[in-house]
Assembly symmetry: C2
């Protein structure tokens, strides 16, 4: 459909989205829809959703999600995107099985991305040490506890890592990545097809009013709930 | 968490999201995440995802989705939101079983909403006759074939119906609805939690460049594919 398509002989690039228990579905579905549109519009791309097992996985909404592949089935993703969530994602910072899968998949990926607190999983896996990164505004400071440098931007690139801010930021990050992979014209076509022409009815977020620390006790409480069984990690992240 | 919470004795309002084969997951997950945040932040709301059966349902991405309830289990939703999609949704305009479920659920809902081509299902069910409505830009004209008046806006309210433009427009529509239901302060808090502070990397959609009719043959072809087995409906929508 476009002159910027890769040659037919180019290998298909796989964009893998990680699914795990309790995540925030918009974190995964926002960028997935962007890359699925890319795969529909030009040749050379496919999306997959990877999890430990191919079975329904609960989210932080009543919706359950089913991956298309296991981690082991996707040997060499071009990009791997890790979504975030609230208590279950904070708890997953201590899930050595998931962190191990993330380390292995990240090592085989040209691009490793995250949305929202997904970057805390990359950080807990030791992948963001010495790198600039971002996450949901409530937990930005935690990145430093894992040796990363927290940055307040919609998305942050450092080496082959790209991390996005909270939840809906994954859409912006994914469009940026599509532009890098397939060119800006293709990215604009994807944007047109998902009709991403935002009109937040109350305007942009007023960060001067919002980022006042009033939610810090709430954020701490959720972290304590999530890591009640992992006092060492909780202490490391709390002091 | 807020002074605008309803009294504890108020009945819980159920916001129901309709799941069906082949839909575009961002159409459902965008507004679902908005209302799930509402339900988390203030008392008085819950979200459900309804389908014909509680089993994995394919989407237009590799992700499958599982509803939390059947249509029959949710007797009186406060609001029902119908997501859209491409060929499977266009085909569903001829799915009398789904249309019947939509008519019954809509008749019991205080608010009936749609995202993207979800409005074509409401229209095909006879629910938008004489009403203003919108849908994905590629299929806006089809609304008139069902007796609705197509409108070019991010979302359109007419009576207890509210229809949103394509895919990502469901987030904006949902925030507007949250403001109407729970007040603007709560809606702004929801926006903060999903960090909906859009920064489309290529700016807003340039409609003067995009809406030039170049995609009309593509849209017609998809419609023909979708309704190949329903020539009467296809003719009604094509001439």
């Amino acid at each position: 459909m476009t002159e910027t398509s890769p040659a037919p002989s180019a290998p298909v690039k796989t964009i893998a989205f990680v699914l795990y228990q309790g995540l925030t579905p918009l974190d995964i579905v926002g960028p997935l829809q962007v890359f699925a549109a890319l795969a529909d519009l030009v040749p050379g791309y496919r999306t997959v959703v990877i999890g430990e097992r191919i079975e329904p996985i609960g989210s932080d909404t009543p919706l359950s999600l089913v991956p298309s592949h296991t981690f082991a089935e996707i040997a060499d993703p071009h990009a791997t995107i890790v979504p975030g969530g609230l208590v279950p994602t904070l708890a997953a910072m201590a899930d050595e099985n998931l962190l191990g899968n993330l380390r292995e998949t990240a090592a085989r990926s040209q691009i490793v991305g995250s949305v929202c607190t997904g970057s805390l999983l990359l950080a807990a896996a030791g992948l963001l040490e010495g790198r600039q990164a971002t996450t949901h505004w409530m937990y930005r400071d935690l990145l430093a506890r894992f040796g990363a440098t927290p940055v307040t931007r919609r998305w942050v690139e450092d080496g082959h890592f790209i991390t996005a801010a909270g939840v809906s930021a994954g859409i912006d990050m994914a469009l940026h990545l599509v532009g890098r992979l397939a060119g800006n014209e293709v990215a604009r076509m994807v944007q047109l097809f998902i009709e991403y022409d935002p009109e937040p009815p109350f305007g942009p977020i007023d960060w001067t009013a919002a980022d006042s620390g009033q939610y810090a006790p709430f954020a701490r409480q959720l972290l304590q709930n999530a890591l009640a069984d992992h006092p060492a990690l909780l202490a490391h992240l709390s002091n």
